[in-house]
């Protein structure tokens, strides 16, 4: 019964989905070229750091992995938010993209986990089927 009211309510309800506010159109409020360049410089520095890290000896593999992933995510986010304007653009776009990313991340993470790739990172030894091509063992 509760819904009876809302269902025939004045049209101004249920207009919720109009996510994009045209009064903040996607083309306004964009950074200036200079800002873009600053962003790019930052990205370049991070990349350099990544490569440098590759040559650094001594740190544990896991630590390196961690740092690399952090830097990767940072770069990813910056390009998406500034160059792809997600920062300024409609929520809907962001939702589409983020849904894709999270979904991909989630499911593939589970897949990899079921294969136990985290257990011994790197040196996984595949089970070789003991093919009876090796002559059958007599008693």
């Amino acid at each position: 019964m509760a819904e009876a009211a809302t269902e025939k309510a004045s049209p101004t309800d249920h207009t919720a989905e109009h996510a994009d506010d045209p009064s903040a159109p996607s083309h306004t409020g964009h950074p200036s070229d200079w800002e873009y360049i600053k962003v790019a410089i930052f990205l370049a520095i991070v990349t350099a750091a990544e490569v440098a890290l590759y040559y650094v000896e001594g740190l544990g593999a896991r630590l390196v992995l961690l740092i690399l992933c952090v830097m990767m995510v940072v770069k990813f986010a910056i390009v998406a938010m500034w160059f792809m304007h997600l920062r300024f653009d409609s929520k809907i776009f962001r939702r589409f993209f983020i849904t894709g990313i999270l979904l991909a991340f989630g499911v593939y993470l589970i897949v990899l986990t079921t294969f136990g790739v985290w257990s011994r990172p790197g040196e996984h030894t595949p089970v070789s089927p003991s093919p009876p091509t090796t002559t059958a063992r007599p008693g």
Binding site: M1, A4, V127, P131, P138
Partner: protein, 335 residues
């Protein structure tokens, strides 16, 4: 309301009866997964039955209501119906109730999963190797290699290491345990246990090509004594037949025709493509338990294996009737 409960009870009674029918008669249905003959299968069965009952109740409820409403509320004189748009309490209700029901199913399920996963103590270890389209068994610590018919002692668990040399198969003896896929590149594990002596049949259940339907297997449960006897027998080498008998010529043919290239006859050959024939006649069936083991079937087989078993990896060797006769004579000595 009470009327409905009444009907509900009646119907679930009917369903239980049906369940009984399904379970009964393992004579008529030797591959029946609902007539367990071993601990593990029984564990599963004990889990299925209550689940089926829950399902039956839900079934009766839903179908009953559907029927009731369709009949009760068919178009009838009178005003238009009241426009009901929903009822939050009800909807929350029939979200929660199924949820709770499912939780009560999930808990025992997960417990059983782990119960069935752990390795049994003092088990007979057998490596089961899937081939297109037959099964090879290796009792590694007993030094036995056999095919298609798995022997196991009653009351003692058998731990299976499952491997494949070609495609994915699935090993299944319904009355002893559920199935487990046999995946090339990995080793899967399963286990069997029989309560009573007897022959329990099964077959490959993962589509594995042309003769998937003909890739069958048996589990022969024996009293410990019989089992030990069988083990002794299997561990013997083959005895060469007495000179200038048919069997003897058969044996020479067995080499000259290249059988040795694929088959192991212990003491004679070390072929590994086909089943080990050393104790062929200790088995009751052959070629993936497709045929009963006897001269007539063997004759058909040797005449044209792929002809009688589509795609069989044993080629047609164009043997003459006479050669076949001799070969069979030889094979019959492989007790």
């Amino acid at each position: 309301m009470s009327g409905r409960r009444h009907r509900l009870l009646k119907c679930s009674g009917v369903v239980l009866l049906l369940l009984f029918l399904v379970a009964c008669g393992s004579k008529k249905t030797p591959q029946n997964s609902l007539s367990p003959a071993g601990e593990y299968a029984r564990t599963i069965d004990n889990l299925i039955d209550p689940v089926f009952i829950v399902a039956a109740v839900v079934f009766v409820l839903v179908e009953g209501l559907a029927l009731l409403f369709v009949i009760r509320y068919r178009q009838r004189p009178g005003p238009e119906p009241v426009q009901v748009h929903g009822n939050t309490r009800l909807e929350v209700g029939w979200t929660l109730v199924p949820f709770l029901i499912l939780v009560t199913i999930a808990v025992p399920t997960i417990i059983t999963i782990f119960k069935l996963a752990d390795e049994p103590p003092n088990a007979v270890n057998v490596t089961v190797i899937g081939h297109q389209w037959w099964w090879e068994y290796r009792y590694d610590d007993l030094g036995i290699v056999s095919a298609n018919e798995l022997h196991l002692p009653v009351g003692r668990p058998v731990q299976l290491k499952l491997q494949s040399v070609d495609v994915i198969h699935s090993y299944w003896v319904p009355r002893l345990n559920g199935k487990t896929d046999v995946v090339p590149g990995r080793t899967n594990h399963s286990k069997l246990k029989a309560e009573r002596p007897g022959t329990y049949i099964g077959q490959c259940t993962e589509f594995c090509g042309l003769s998937h339907a003909n890739m069958r297997n048996r589990a022969v449960a024996q009293t410990p004594a019989d089992f030990d006897a069988w083990v002794k027998g299997q561990q013997q080498a083959a005895v060469a037949p007495a000179a200038n008998t048919d069997a003897a010529t058969g044996m020479t043919l067995f080499t000259s025709k290249g059988c040795t290239g694929c088959h192991t006859v212990q003491g004679l050959s070390k072929g590994a493509v086909g089943p080990n024939l050393t104790h062929l006649y200790s088995r009751s069936t052959f070629a993936g338990s497709m045929f009963d083991l006897n001269a007539t079937e063997l004759r058909k087989w040797l005449h044209d294996p792929p002809g009688v078993k589509p795609g069989s990896k044993m080629p047609n060797l164009n043997l003459s009737a006479d050669e076949i006769q001799k070969l069979i004579a030889y094979l019959e000595t492989l007790k």
